[in-house]
Amino acid sequence: MTMWLLHMVVGHLPTGFWLLLTGAGIAGFFAAGVLSHFPPFKPYTLFIKPVAALVAGIGIFMYGGASINDYYQQMIHELEEKVKIAEAKSQTVNTVIEERIKVQKQVITQRQVEYQDRIVEVATQIDRDCKLDPAVPKLHNDAATDPLKSVVKGETK
């Protein structure tokens, strides 16, 4: 929870803020060095110097973290854009395939109807000269039966 709160607060600060903080820390450190030469300010410099060093350290650390964070955020953004484009392309592929399937199915159906009609046209002629032996439908039906269906049934029994 604390981590999340801190991340919320710190995460919204611009990267430049940490650079400024580092600069301020370094400046404070050197200013404390200069002030130490003046006797009235000397006691304060003993406090200012370590605080300024700490501020500079935190600033450097956070600037590094913020820079890495910015880099990753940029990478995530680029990747999200790529994913968006890919999803749109993927949808286009689906649409193209769906349309083509629709058209080709129509062609297949039309051709089937055409051949069924041609059979009807010559049915009398075909049936006059040829009578099917009862073995023929059986052979045809056996061949048309899905061979894997019987195998699967056999396995499950």
């Binding site: 995530i76 990747l79 689906n94 297949i108 040829c130 023929v136 045809h140 048309a144």
Partner: protein, 88 residues
């Protein structure tokens, strides 16, 4: 000690964890999700060749439809893979 813990937590907030971006598995066209139909059969008592021919023609049609589905699946997979590979 409390201050030290607070400082550690504060400093560790600099280590941001990137959010992983995932690509959704693309949905296939609805037509491709229907299995191929079983072949029609001739009536056992059928004597007319023309009637048998009708069944054969219907079955050829079913084969062509099934072939269309398989070919479309191959094309779908190839193209979707190309699209997905472009993201990586």
């Amino acid at each position: 000690m409390k201050k030290l813990v607070f400082l550690s937590v504060f400093l560790l907030t600099g280590c941001a964890t990137p959010v992983p971006v995932t690509v959704k598995f693309p949905a296939a066209p609805k037509d491709l999700l229907i299995t191929c139909a079983n072949l029609d059969k001739v009536q056992a008592t059928e004597e007319n060749l023309s009637e048998m021919m009708k069944v054969v023609v219907t079955n050829y049609g079913k084969y062509h439809e099934c072939k269309l589905k398989v070919d479309s699946w191959i094309e779908w997979h190839t193209k979707q893979k190309e699209v997905l590979d472009a993201v990586k």
